[in-house]
Structure formats: C-alpha cells, structure tokens
C-alpha cells in the first residue's frame, strides 16, 4: 500500500505515539499518520523526510516496525537544528512526514545466501528492519552475522534486542567500540576486526553495510579480499537532501541521485565515484 501523497513536497501530519530515548544523543519516534487509517508500507532501507514545525526538514531512515512498537519507527541522532527540534517532541505531538522514498535492501534476492550485516553507530537504524525481514523467513537464509561498531559503548543502539536476535533467530552478533573505559567487557577496535570472528562463506555471501564512508570503504575492501562479490555488497550513501524526489539536485553523487537511485546501492554501481574526495 502506498502512502497517499497529494503533492510530493507537502508533508502529511503524523502523531508521535511514543518518544523512545535510545542513547545520550539518539532517540526514536514511533509515528502514526494523523489522517490516514491505512497501515504504512515501506521497504527496509527506505527513508522519509521529517518536518519539525517552522524549523525544517531532514531525511531520516526508517528503523522499524520493531517488537513492542507498532507504528513507523524513525531513529534520529541530534546533529543539527531540525534534529534538535525533533528531540523536543513529546508523546502526542505532531510532525510532518513525506515518504517513504528511495531504494531498499534487496532482501528477496538474498535467499539461500549467508548474510553479513555491518553497521557503524546509528547506521544500524536502517538495517534493523532488514534484519527483521530476514527473521520473518529465517529458514530461507544461511548464516547471518551482525558486525556492529560504534565510537564508544554509550553510542550503541538497540542493544537490548541483541540477545533475542542471537537466541531466537540464531544470528551471530559481534560488537566492537573504538574506545572504552575499563567497565567495557566487550571488544575494542574498528568494526572490520570482527570479520574473522564470525562464520560465513564469502563465495555465497551478501553484505549490507551502513555507516560512515570511511567505515564502508574498509569494510568493502575486507569483504572483497575474502572473496565476496562486488555486486553482492550493498552500501548506503548519505548526502544533503531537500526534496527527496530528484528535483533539488543536492544529493548528487556522480550520476546518482541518492534520494531516488539510492540510498542503497550495489557497490559495483557506484565504485567509480566511491571514495573520491569531495565528489
């Protein structure tokens, strides 16, 4: 079912059903449409444009439906004026929303393969609905490994779900942080250091990666080194966005419009431009 979009540039009002504090600077909004009774259809990996009254609009990836929450979940890190305004929202408040927009993780093309999911920081947000889509048909996939890294333990999100993911859905979860104090019992190091610590068959593996470009660059390099095919590596790109429908020109990355051709790309589609400074 598609969201009814009267004009693609005019937001629809959504109600904050639940404001969920995730970390010191990150929160999730569980949103319901104010005027529409239909359930919301989106593909894992897609994003919306969230409008804070009078302040502005930001592209935010959809991070679920997730258990115990039933609307459209969006997970947001406070990094600027609009996200700071969204951080002030309370249950029952209104936000504007346009979307969903953009490409999705190609879950149905991953059947029978091992899956490596690599996330950096809030990069886990658009991967969570992909994980739940995999769990929905767990038997159709081989090994599933989540390699998750963040700057420090306090920047990790969704950690209370990891145990269920491991025990109920039989996936491997490896968490690392760049730096930590002596209270941290887990691993320290960049996310790629977890790759040798999980089981998967590189020749039959699909990878989904979301994180800072530098993290994705090294992750792709390591996976390729092991023999994962370039066209089975999927990455997400981020750029400034104003319209999300290919009109404003801001999100161009080489020939791609991140908003409509992405944000998820097969690595081989964008590799010519990936990693070029200031492209």
């Amino acid at each position: 079912m598609k969201l009814p979009i009267s004009d693609p540039m005019t937001p629809e009002p959504y109600i904050v059903k639940q404001f969920i504090r995730e970390t010191h600077d990150t929160f999730s909004l569980d949103l319901f449409p104010k005027n529409i009774s239909d359930s919301i259809a989106f593909q894992p990996g897609q994003f919306t444009m969230l409008y804070a009254f009078g302040v502005g609009e930001v592209p935010i990836s959809i991070s679920g439906p997730a258990p115990m929450q039933s609307g459209l979940i969006q997970t947001i890190r406070k990094v600027g004026k609009v996200t700071e305004a969204l951080d002030q929202l309370k249950n029952g408040d209104t936000v504007g929303l346009r979307g969903p927009f953009g490409s999705a993780w190609p879950i149905s093309a991953m059947k029978k393969r091992d899956i490596v999911v690599m996330a950096g920081g809030i990069g886990l947000a658009p991967l969570r609905p992909a994980l739940y889509a995999l769990f929905d048909q767990r038997d159709n996939f081989g090994e599933i490994a989540l390699l998750y890294g963040a700057r420090s333990p306090k920047d990790l999100i969704f950690t209370n779900e990891f145990k269920t993911w491991q025990e109920k859905f039989g996936i491997q979860v490896k968490v690392t942080v760049d730096t930590a104090d002596s209270d941290w019992r887990g691993n320290v190091g960049v996310v790629t250091t977890s790759i040798p610590r999980v089981d998967f068959d590189p020749k039959n593996t699909v990878a989904m990666i979301c994180g800072p470009e530098i993290m994705m660059k090294y992750s792709v390099a390591e996976l390729k080194q092991l023999g994962v095919k370039e066209d089975r590596i999927h990455i997400t790109m981020e750029r400034n966005m104003k319209c999300a429908i290919g009109f404003c020109g801001h999100c161009q990355f080489g020939p791609a419009f991140i908003c409509k051709d992405g944000p998820i790309f097969q690595y081989n589609q964008v590799k010519h431009f990936f990693g070029i400074r200031e492209i």
Binding site: T10, P11, R77, G80, G249, H272
Partner: protein, 380 residues
C-alpha cells in the same frame, strides 16, 4: 505564411485577448531580459548585443530589427520553474499543527522570441521535472499551458556554440509558431512556420499572407549562414568518459584559481534546475511557511551534512557543475545538460569558458597517469 510588423503586434494582442500573459525580450538595465509585453513597442527595436567571455554590451543597430540580438541573462526557466515559490503553510495549534497545502496557480504564458537552444533547454528540463516517478506540478501546469513563439536566429553571439551541441541555430520542432525576421531595404516582415494546431488557430486571427517557396528558402538560408559563421565549438566526442576519467585532473585546480564560486553560471544556465528550501516563521512563531528557491551547486551549504560540507573547495564545486552538465546528465536524463547558449561564458565575471577548459583536459588526457585505484578506470 508571412506577417508584417503590424501582424506581429496583432499576434501579441490576440494572445493577450486569449488570456495569455505574453512575455518576451525587452531592454532593462542595459540588457535584454524577458518581461511582460503589451505590444511590439516593448521589443528591443534596433538593438544588438555584443558578447564575449565576461562581457555583455548592448549596441545600436543601423536598422529597426526587433530580434537582432541573441540570448541575455534571463531564460524561460524563470517562468516555468519560478525562482521562488511557497510550498505550504503551517499553523501551530497547541502541540499540534496543521499543514495548509498551496493552491496551484495556473498562469498561461505565451513566450515570444524563444531561440532554438532555449527550446532544447526546455525539453531538457521537461525530462527533469516531468520524466520521472514524481512530477513537479507547478512546472507541469505552466509547461502545458504555454504557447511558444520561436525566433530563428539571424545572428549568433561570439559565445554561441549551439552547432556543436546540435541544438540550433534553426529550430525544427517544439514551437507553436516560429518566426524568421527578414529585414532589408525594402522589407521588414516575418516568415512564420506553424508547429501546432493551436499555432494554426492563432494565425487565422492575424492578418497574414502566404509565403512563397522563395521566402521559405530565404528563411532557411539565413540560419544556415548563422551556423556557418559560428566560431566557438566544443568537441563532445566521448565527453562523458573524458570527464569521468579525469575527476582528479590538474586543470580543475587551475580553474579553481580563477573561479569565484559566484554561481552566475548556474543562475543564467537555462537547464540548471537545483533548488533549496527555506523555512520561515512569523514573529509569533505560530505561523510557518516553507519556500522553494533556486539554488546553486557553487554555494557552500549546498552539500552540508552533519560534520561539514561534502564539497568545501571551489575545485570540487566547479568539477561537479561541469561534470554534471556534460557527463552525468547523460546518465541521468539521456541527454547533455548543455545546449551551447554560451550564457555561462558571457556572465562569468572572470570569463571561464568551458569550450576552452574541456580541450585542456582532453589534450593532456593521454599524458596523465591516473591515481592508484584501479576501479577509477571502470566507467559505469
């Protein structure tokens, strides 16, 4: 068909009578710009323009030609894709707010004096705003309502290179009517080509006479001469591959030393379509509006994301603009983003000329060793 000056004046009044807002060339602030026309008296009679890199100057002609110049700083995109428009309003009601969608205006423009390169530019913007999954409704309604009166170029500016881009000087389609201005010691009239049923219907309301085969030949000869005399050229052979392969070419640094990142080239370009949005609130904070405005890839905040600007340097912004225009546009919209109108050359304050810069990259291309990454050599 042939019309005289009186016929042209009548054409304007007939179109106004039909509810069209007739816009076309007129002189303002020492330049030829596109504004409302009420009669042929508003047209730039007896004016010519002199253009070169970084130079634009109006000069008196010795005759009374009405279209004796080329293209100025304006293009028709200011009517079809307005420089600013309100997207919606919103009113605060407690913790709640309501969004008030914008009512769609439906202006009816008649564009008089559209050049061949400009018709091609409009066709290119059609692909941007109408060709994808989403449609820009403002553009669509303005585009569908518009009546196009082309003018076949009787001269080119020194900055024109439409013959290289296959966009002129003669236009063959995309117009309702096309005029060729014939001016000699004895005559001053316009040979009219009809390009649509609506064009035909309008002509029936205007005093005209039939053109002879000779008249039509004369009109064709005029644009052929313009094409033959055009000086500037751009070799577009494999230009996409050339630019994709040379993203780190030292010439970008050389251009960046001159480029002022002023955004003039993007404002005058008839195909540049980028926009931004601005959110405003009134003094009470209870009423908000969101506006869409023309934007340029040369501005600093164009690529702002958390953590900074993606394209902070002038080098990267110029590279983005030219590579988009001539290369990635082909991947995105299946055509070049350049129509060879020369505006970006004329209106660049430091006279950066893409027809000079591209050969500098092309000529040295074989001598450049590419940086390490083997992936650079694979063109998507």
């Amino acid at each position: 068909m042939i019309i005289d000056r009186e016929g042209l004046d009548q054409l304007i009044s007939v179109l106004i009578g039909m509810g069209f807002q007739v816009v076309g060339p007129t002189v303002r602030d020492e330049a030829i710009v596109y504004e409302n026309l009420n009669s042929i008296n508003d047209l730039p009679e007896g004016w010519a323009d002199e253009q070169e890199g970084g130079t634009y100057r109006l000069k008196r002609r010795s005759d009374k030609a009405l279209f004796g110049y080329v293209v100025g700083p304006h293009s028709w995109k200011k009517f079809l894709h307005p420089p600013e428009r309100r997207l919606f309003r919103a009113n605060l009601k407690g913790g709640d707010f309501e969004i008030i969608p914008e009512k769609l205006e439906e202006p009816k423009f008649a564009f008089l004096g559209v050049r061949s390169c400009e018709l091609h530019a409009i066709a290119i913007q059609d692909k941007v705003f109408l060709g994808g999954e989403h449609v820009d409704s403002t553009y669509k309604i303005r585009r569908e309502n518009a009546f196009f009166i082309a003018v076949q170029c009787g001269q080119s500016a020194a900055t024109c290179f439409c013959t290289s881009m296959n966009t002129g000087p003669r236009t063959e389609s995309g117009f309702d009517l096309a005029l060729t201005e014939i001016l000699d010691n004895e005559h001053h009239h316009f040979i009219v080509e009809v390009g649509s049923d609506q064009g035909n219907a309008v002509m029936e309301k205007i005093l005209h006479r039939q053109a002879t085969g000779e008249d039509v030949m004369e009109a064709k000869k005029l644009t052929e001469e313009v094409a033959a005399k055009m000086k500037r050229t751009l070799d577009t052979t494999n230009i996409k591959e050339l630019l994709y392969e040379n993203l780190e070419h030292p010439q970008w640094n050389d251009i960046a030393d001159r480029c002022m990142s002023c955004a003039n080239c993007t404002m005058v370009c008839p195909t540049c379509f980028c926009s931004t949005v601005e959110d405003v609130t009134d003094i009470t904070g209870d009423h908000a509006e969101r506006w869409q405005k023309w934007d340029s890839c040369f501005t600093m905040d164009f690529t702002h994301i958390h953590g900074g600007e993606v394209r902070a340097s002038t080098k990267s912004r110029y590279r983005q603009w030219l590579t988009h225009k001539l290369a990635s546009w082909q991947d995105q919209f299946d055509s070049s983003g350049c129509v060879g109108c020369g505006r970006c050359i004329t209106w660049c304050p430091v006279a950066i000329d893409l027809t000079e810069e591209i050969p500098k990259i092309r000529d040295s291309e074989n001598q450049i060793t590419h940086p390490g990454n083997e992936a650079r050599h694979e063109i998507p």
